[in-house]
Symmetry: C2
Subunit: 345 residues, 2 copies
Amino acid sequence: MARTRLKDIAQRAGVSESTVSRVLNHREGIAEDTQRLVREAARALSHHAVGDEDDLVGVLVPDLENPIFSQWADRLEADLFQRDAATIIATRPRGTKGEQHAFHRFLRLGVRGVVVVSGFHAQQHGPVAHYRELLGEGINLALINGVREDLAGTFISTDDVAAIELAVGHLQDLGHSQIGLALGDEHTWPVRQKVRAFERLIDVSTAARTIAYTDFSYAGGYEAARELLRQGMSAIICGSDVMATGAIAGVRSLGKDVPRDVSVVGFDDVSWARLTSPALTTLRQDVPQMSRAAVQAVLASPVDSRRPERTELLVPPQLVARESTGASASSRRTGSPVSADTMRE
Amino acid sequence: MARTRLKDIAQRAGVSESTVSRVLNHREGIAEDTQRLVREAARALSHHAVGDEDDLVGVLVPDLENPIFSQWADRLEADLFQRDAATIIATRPRGTKGEQHAFHRFLRLGVRGVVVVSGFHAQQHGPVAHYRELLGEGINLALINGVREDLAGTFISTDDVAAIELAVGHLQDLGHSQIGLALGDEHTWPVRQKVRAFERLIDVSTAARTIAYTDFSYAGGYEAARELLRQGMSAIICGSDVMATGAIAGVRSLGKDVPRDVSVVGFDDVSWARLTSPALTTLRQDVPQMSRAAVQAVLASPVDSRRPERTELLVPPQLVARESTGASASSRRTGSPVSADTMRE
């Protein structure tokens, strides 16, 4: 090891060069704490030498349990790799604190940009100072599925209004008039968009409650389906595919069949949506297009930290009709014609 | 901003304090490069001040496309969170280089430990110097599903021998004698373990080839199933659930039915394995127990970098019998008794 190197480590660790030498050569008789100091200093310097990777991008997803989030992370990594950029992934365990910590880790790694999927930028209220901190450091932000008016960055979202219009149209074509909506946290942008579109299409002034707010999990779908069936619904649009599989179980728990008695529509089109029994009719998020747009945004020239720009992009979803939706019982009885102009796989 | 702070940044960036002040206060007329230098210096110092998180753990998975890997990452994150440790996740895109880069990122973040799922430690040969580098830095290593004799660390693997014994036993109980095995890369430890166990149980000296090496994907399962069916197999044990869904499609592509004509066994028990049609009979990896063991290993006292220890842990899998396996056609014809002592959900 070069003499200058020993000197640097000694200086950083605040010990003598001979101590450094003894620690690095595994000699006995050095206090644990001193050993640790020296090792840390050596590590810091050696990795400073390796240098930051130029094009490292941080990807933050809520969790990796919901397959749509792992699909996002996987797709973003692949698209970044194609553009010679490396990816580091964090989840945001339980609350803003986790998101702040993840952002700080990204900063320490010297990332060029950060992609956040369904983060706090999707919340109607709540702190986003940590997002502004990134922008202030000249870091590009791509924010997926959520819009905050009071924040700069590139916002890329699935067009939830179009999604609800497609789903409601599909179900009405099948003869359904009692259509319910099963969603998670009502304070997020995607949920509010869906509700707004839904209330424009469906008469919600009746006594029956047509929207159930639970959460986007299997259990959430199960509970929501039972609640909506008790309100007389014959079709349920869910906020995620995971939720839709729970809804199917919820329908069955009341002795009814999907799609004979009740139609269920999912959201996302995760990889296994075509494998379930019955295969899920769902709204496919255009993850490939959205991912490409996000990668382009984060690898663009660094943001001007004085005047960070704001861009909004809405990407239309696609209705994928499979087996979990079918003609309503009433339309089958009356023999009323059912149009079949929706895309079938 | 305190004067000392300006001075530190100026020193680090190699510019005057007034330049630092002008950049940080967004004054005009500073060259782009200088601005960048100053911002980087300010960032480095501010994040040095924030300090490393004490208990940060790096998790490296091959990708997040295969649901078993996202399940691993999700579970490890949850278990680490419970022990007040934070997680940073990396994938290893295409080859050793990606793994080395990920390790360096973890080092730069000052991680306390690293968990590697199905990494290069599972390869029979190939470079593992970057693993030794981590150990040399006093970083704890937990290495999932793969064993290298020439490497220290805590190795935690599903017992593949037990897995094959369970699967073969289950299929033989159902009357199958023509059993094939569909696997990926034959140079990895888990694959070699499975093959060894399989060859002890099945007579592979016949003309028919009973093992197909493709890869662990849907396409790999499709191809392997068609190959094994042409060799006269009536049951196929796959190396992953994703592969098993491909195998089912492969069986159907030859005009045959699962499980009437051919039985298919998966591996992993991913979250959607019970939702497929037919629901997958599979070998469940005990991810919860293995994850807890890995977390315990990486949060233990730092390894003695002079004499890193080596531990091996084998965790038994469980056979989960669902709908993709059934009595063999020949046993149904002859009416021979089929024992039914395997666990059914």
